[in-house]
């Protein structure tokens, strides 16, 4: 807010000091662009929302009726559930101007712990479920302590723990997949988020997708309606200023990384629901997909600006483009290509919006 005020004051000063007609021309052009810029600064979810709507419109024409069918649209939601979960966790961390490269590894590790304890070691499923959730939480806590207490850069910390948790995946799983049928027999609870609700018009919602949306709503509430949420934004904007203002920034960092780890463990539950099995092989680049969703969703990699809803839209944009291009018969090579372009556009827009406060 104070930044906006400074911006308009300096603009007025420029106006007084220059030729009147030229200045008014500049002012006009500038004010239209500036008001767009200001609007986007205030509503970071606007761009991803518009892109999502445009994407849906384009593919409704290009890919025909199959794309716009209720079933297919609900299918896209199912397909982005896992990435959106990780994206929610990632958004929390990126809001504090950090990054968590280990989200995918934490998720796979939690799912392997749940599946393997239940099937291979015969642990009661309720217990292994809780231990699986704790696994994510503890992994996140370790990240948080390394960042907040030992004060290492988040990129380095999570680059390291990405490897560490990834190695633990191989150690715990023996590189073996826990089969879907075995999990179904020993612990159906682990597949519970894979159950579906049929809605009108053929749309199908999985419990996993609903859990993801609920998680997003909860985190949205925490970020926007609680003191802790405002502390997260403040810490991300300028952690030194936040600390001087009396915010326990160390506590904020630890809480954010731990919460992110826990959300990854919930994502692990949804992952077992989705693929039935607990597999050490997949989701190797899920951390990058999550960052993609966050960035396309309009959250700034420099911290302090962005939203959970934006991340949800970001994940949906990627899902809609992949699905739409595939249904239109476009090679998967060009699906990747398009996602890359979307990332660059998103960061370009972010940089441009940030100029308003410069």
């Amino acid at each position: 807010m104070s930044d906006d005020a400074t911006g308009s004051v300096s603009a007025e000063r420029g106006l007084h000091g220059s030729d009147q007609s030229v200045a008014s021309f500049d002012e006009d052009r500038g004010s239209v662009l500036k008001s767009i810029q200001r609007f986007l600064h205030e509503y970071p979810t606007a761009i991803p929302f518009i892109v999502l709507v445009i994407g849906i419109l384009i593919f409704s024409v290009a890919a025909g009726g199959r794309f716009f069918a209720p079933f297919n649209l609900s299918l896209v939601l199912q397909q982005v559930t896992i990435i959106a979960f990780l994206g929610i966790a990632q958004t929390l961390v990126i809001l504090t101007a950090g990054i968590d490269l280990s989200v995918g590894a934490m998720m796979v590790l939690s799912s392997i712990v749940m599946g393997r304890l239940t099937v291979t070691y015969g642990v009661p499923v309720e217990l292994s479920f809780v231990l699986g959730l704790l696994t994510g939480l503890v992994c996140g806590l370790i990240n948080g302590v390394l960042v907040a207490v030992i004060k290492l850069p988040p990129f380095i910390v999570t680059l390291g723990t990405w490897s560490v948790y990834g190695a633990m995946v191989i150690y715990v799983s023996h590189s073996e997949t826990v089969r879907a049928q075995d999990i179904e027999a020993a612990g159906p609870l682990l597949q519970w988020l894979g159950h579906t609700i049929r809605l009108g018009g053929g749309a199908v919602l999985t419990y996993g997708a609903i859990a993801m949306i609920l998680t997003a709503l909860i985190i949205w509430y925490v970020l926007n309606r609680t003191a802790f949420g405002r502390h997260v934004y403040a810490t991300g904007d300028d952690d030194e200023a936040a600390r001087l203002a009396g915010i326990n920034t160390r506590g904020v960092f630890i809480a954010v990384y731990t919460l992110a780890g826990f959300i990854c463990a919930v994502a692990a539950w949804a992952l077992i629901g989705r693929i039935g099995a607990a597999s050490p092989l997949g989701n190797q680049t899920a951390n990058l997909d999550a960052i993609t969703a966050v960035v396309i969703g309009g959250t700034s990699l420099f911290g302090g600006r962005g939203s959970i809803v934006g991340t949800l839209f970001g994940a949906l944009i990627v899902g809609v483009f992949r699905n739409g291009l595939a249904l239109a018969g476009v090679d998967s090579l060009w699906q990747e290509f398009t996602v890359g372009i979307l990332i660059i556009l998103a960061v370009t827009i972010d940089q441009w919006i940030r100029k308003i406060s410069a």
């Binding site: 199959r66 297919n72 299918l75 199912q78 397909q79 896992i82 990834g166 995946v169 191989i170 023996h174 590189s175 073996e176 997949t177 089969r179 879907a180 049928q181 579906t196 199908v204 992952l271 989705r274 693929i275 039935g276 099995a277 597999s279 050490p280 092989l281 997949g282 989701n283 190797q284 992949r322 699905n323 595939a326 249904l327 018969g329 090679d331 998967s332 090579l333 990747e336």
Partner: protein, 342 residues
């Protein structure tokens, strides 16, 4: 001057110790370099090599890349083996062309290089290649699918769950092998996607894992709701694809599922009716044979020879199904479970 004398004495001492060490522990060093640690196929390969090396009294050093496609780690591993004075090594190349110059360096240094599973490009850049005939493995499941469908084969709708956009050798060989076995005109046998057969529903990438398999099959089901055959690059992709079929209510046997690998979870899925047929390959055997070949080379200087009529030594692929088809040789899932890996 005295400093130099001490240094010389130290060097002489070290050389003596080195000579003693070589003399008393004269075990030949051999290497095994796999693509990654995180794949049961390579884990089994390592176990096979370790058992055989122990039996033959060889010292085995194992290496792996960090991810599928990690050429740098493999280059470093080869350099380490050369400087360790290894007699030879077996490698599953992550990048079948980029590794070639380093392999030449090793062969020039006198090491025997045996390539496992994924042939080099060109294949004769190694001393020998021990591998599954992936094209043949694909052909077997293609023939089985065609035979099982009978008259309906001409109106089939086939979903292809492939590996990756860059179409590595194993990917196009299996895919094109299946098409040949099924009776599809494959055009250029070195790539898929150039065919114009109306029975092809589409190709989607899975990364060879469950999550990719599920998403890919969901997409293809959207394209062709009347799909009747699901080809999969490997069994994890098949298990993921099956989850998509299940969600769509098509797990009633109306869609034939074929795959390749013959890992134990995959063979169990054949027994459970999830996979109709799979082509089994033998990583333990590949690795054990490579250890034997290197030992023989170290003793006699003799190099292994390829299977007659092929550019590589074929370690075999066997069709596993509980619903055999006339004219396609196969074994059942019970027998397959005895031979499976992972």
């Amino acid at each position: 001057m005295r400093k130099w004398t001490i240094l010389k004495a130290a060097v002489a001492g070290l050389a003596f110790y080195g000579a003693m060490a070589t003399a008393s522990y004269a075990a030949d060093i051999v290497g095994l370099i796999t693509k990654t640690e995180g794949n049961p196929f390579f884990v089994k390969m390592r176990e096979g090599a370790q058992a055989k090396a122990k039996e033959l009294g060889l010292t085995l050093q194992t290496f792996a890349g960090k991810f599928d496609g990690d050429n740098d780690s493999q280059v470093a591993a080869i350099e380490n083996l050369i400087s360790a004075g290894a007699k030879g090594f077996a490698i599953v190349p992550s990048d079948s062309s980029a590794i070639v110059p380093t392999i030449k360096k090793a062969r020039d240094a006198g090491l025997l290089v045996i390539v496992l599973d994924t042939p080099l490009d060109p294949i004769d850049a190694a001393d020998a290649t021990f591998a599954t005939d992936n094209f043949k493995a694909g052909e077997l499941i293609g023939e089985w699918a065609k035979g099982t469908l009978g008259d309906k084969a001409s109106s089939a709708k086939i979903a292809f769950l492939d590996l990756a956009t860059n179409q590595p050798t194993v990917d196009y060989l299996r895919d094109q092998g299946f098409m040949k076995g099924f009776g599809i005109d494959i055009k250029d046998p070195k790539k898929y996607g150039d065919e114009d057969d109306a029975r092809i529903c589409g190709h989607e990438m899975t990364g060879g894992a469950e999550d990719g398999g599920r998403t890919a099959m969901e997409t293809l089901l959207q394209k062709c709701p009347d799909v009747s055959v699901m080809y999969t690059i490997n069994e994890p992709a098949a298990a993921g694809g099956y989850q998509a079929l299940k969600a769509a209510g098509k797990d009633d046997g109306s869609v034939l599922v074929v795959s390749i690998d013959g890992g134990c979870p995959g063979v169990k899925n054949v027994a459970a009716g999830v996979i109709g047929a799979t082509s089994q390959q033998y990583p333990l055997k590949m690795a054990a044979m490579a250890m034997e070949a290197i030992e023989k080379f170290a003793k006699t200087g003799e190099k292994p020879k390829p299977t007659p009529g092929k550019e590589f030594f074929d370690t075999g692929a066997t069709l596993i199904t509980d619903k055999p088809v006339n004219g396609v040789e196969s074994i059942d899932s019970k027998k397959g479970a005895e031979l499976c890996w992972g």
